[in-house]
Symmetry: C2
Subunit: 369 residues, 2 copies
């Protein structure tokens, strides 16, 4: 095999495929990027058996061939080469030389035959949204998936399509995040759970531009994202996702309108009195026109007032400050509405159109004190 | 005590004094910043018994007093306050409230009497240089002090003044870094060893501007740096520093002139084949007009040619690549001169005026392979 590609094109393609290289694995071949120039185009592939990424690379094939190279070493070499044309060449023992200007690296390659190719997916109807929307929606929901694997379904996000609406939902037992995307067309009903890891990795390689599109294909066991020169294939998480509709009652006793930034900064200040790992709640005292935030810890105490508009009853309620902050950070509105029932019922932060809904369970602060 | 200071002024002063707060200590009072408003000015002090920093704070004293506050908590509170006037107030039990706009923090304070004040230093003749020069010179030498304390003297830098020249020297047994600063006046001879930690911390708070000056005072056991509104006092390291003059012979068999950036980038590329902790040397083959760099490791191999100008004999020599890179990174010259004797003798990188000299011991690469 002999290829010529520019350093910048190589670097781009390596960085994309690197996202599907597992950091730990018992199968050394998975630590490789497959360089496939056996046809008329150059493709890089990586695959950790859950998530696979394939991307086309612009360049010249002088001699067809295929080789798998250790992803970390290959990427570091490419990164440090001068900004010029790079020649990648393998001999019959798969020893691979990577040369650029006067620098010449030689590293051992592995047989491409041993590589775990991406599954072949039958692509039926596809949903198209902008890369901006997908990237944003992931950012706005991914924080409320569960970190540990006790409940596998909680480590993923529900992608649900009904008519021309796509809903993306994540939850971890203490909170729920819901974002609604209006689609340009109507689609048949779909309901799949996508691993959080896939979404984290894909959001790193999406351009985030409004005008760049991504096509999403759904199959029984996989979801496929196609965009630019890249295909991302991910296994789905099996099982029936949680029924959350009965939790989303629209009854409330208290409605608060508050400046988002003031509220966020105030909670941020309060949490510096909480040592890491300590589960100290902040206590919110809502009265007409005023919200008082209070926190008390071994380190010290803090209180602060914020102007609000309020409808309904006064209420005293405690929250895990991190959960409030996570939601507030991803809401773009200047003023937000919070809906409360009582000190033991979840609060809702949502807009009038319910394009976003963040549900957060309160903390029993009498017990926690 | 009651003070009013702007948040920005507080933040600046806290960040300066924080550099002398030890991260670990058995004396809790040392983890504090002393706020002293017992006279007509506000001063913040921190002191880890080796290094002490005192800085003046602009603000209004409404009620004189003195208190020591936990440095980490106090700094975090200040950092997260709104950008406005801050009131610091202590009650008779030294409980301290820090309020700004509607936010109010209360934290316990400690008795200022328990604080370890800075030693009172008799200031005799002072050496004045620009903050830029001091900051740069520290950066250009600090990397070659020894990290471990086996030989205390190696953890510091020699400051030597003779007539109107200040020499700053660091060494760790494998290499020596020397920088010469020309002073505007002549001074009496001085020779002290300043702890590396002091120099690291002070370089973080120096402005680095050409027009800002720093005054340096020398006493038997201390060195004092005065600049802006800040005084830094550091203990010296006791003992006789190493005699290095006999190592600085100016004889050589080979002189190489090379583009610094090309040389540095080439070594940087080569080192990616070296696993951390592995002591693989790079091998340099110097011939007329050409230097070839080679490295061979379990990961792979690399070689690269660089155009050079050469005087004298051909030579094949091995080096720890990190030592070469550390020196090359802090030299500003586009083209550098390297002086060599044989494969077992140190090499010198230095300019014609000897404003900088970097000595690096070679590695016996036959043994190391």
């Amino acid at each position: 095999m002999k290829l010529i590609c520019s350093k910048s094109e190589l670097l781009k393609s390596v960085n994309i495929t690197l996202k599907a290289v597992p950091s730990k694995t018992t199968m050394p071949i998975l630590e490789c990027i497959l360089i496939d120039a056996s046809t008329n185009e150059i493709k890089f592939t990586a695959n950790d058996m859950e998530l696979g990424i394939e991307t086309k690379v612009n360049g010249t094939i002088e001699e067809k061939g295929i080789v798998a190279l250790d992803a970390r070493i290959f990427s570091e070499i490419v990164r440090k080469l001068p900004d010029s044309d790079v020649i990648i060449k393998t001999d019959d023992k798969l020893n691979t030389t990577i040369s650029c200007e006067k620098a010449k690296f030689t590293i051992p390659g592995k047989d491409g035959e041993d590589f775990a190719y991406l599954p072949i997916i039958e692509k039926n109807d596809c949903v198209e949204i902008s890369q901006f929307t997908l990237k944003e929606t992931i950012r706005q929901t991914i924080f409320s998936i569960a970190a540990n694997e006790n409940n596998k379904l909680m480590t993923g996000e529900l992608f649900e399509i009904k008519n021309n609406i796509m809903k993306i939902i994540s939850l971890d037992g203490h909170r729920i995040a819901i974002r609604k995307i209006e689609l340009r067309e109507s689609y048949s009903d779909k309901k799949v759970v996508v691993p959080g890891k896939t979404l984290n990795e894909i959001s790193k390689i999406l351009s985030g531009e409004m005008e760049d599109m991504v096509q999403i294909f759904f199959t029984e066991n996989h979801i496929v994202f196609e965009f630019d020169d890249t295909v991302v294939v991910s296994r789905l998480i099996e099982g029936e996702y949680f029924k959350i509709d009965q939790m989303l009652s629209s009854d409330y006793e208290t409605k608060v309108m508050i400046n988002k930034k003031e509220f966020l900064n105030c909670i941020d200040r309060a949490t510096l009195l909480v040592k890491e790992g300590d589960k100290k709640p902040i206590i919110i005292d809502i009265q007409d026109g005023n919200m008082q935030l209070k926190i008390n810890s071994q380190i010290g105490s803090m209180d602060e007032d914020i102007d609000i508009e309020k409808e309904g009853k006064d209420i005293l309620i405690g929250f895990n400050p991190k959960f409030l902050m996570d939601a507030l950070k991803v809401i773009d509105d200047e003023t937000i509405s919070i809906y409360l029932v009582n000190a033991k019922a979840p609060c809702f932060i949502k807009d009038d159109m319910e394009n976003y809904i963040y549900l957060i369970l309160p903390v029993n602060f009498n017990a926690a004190r």
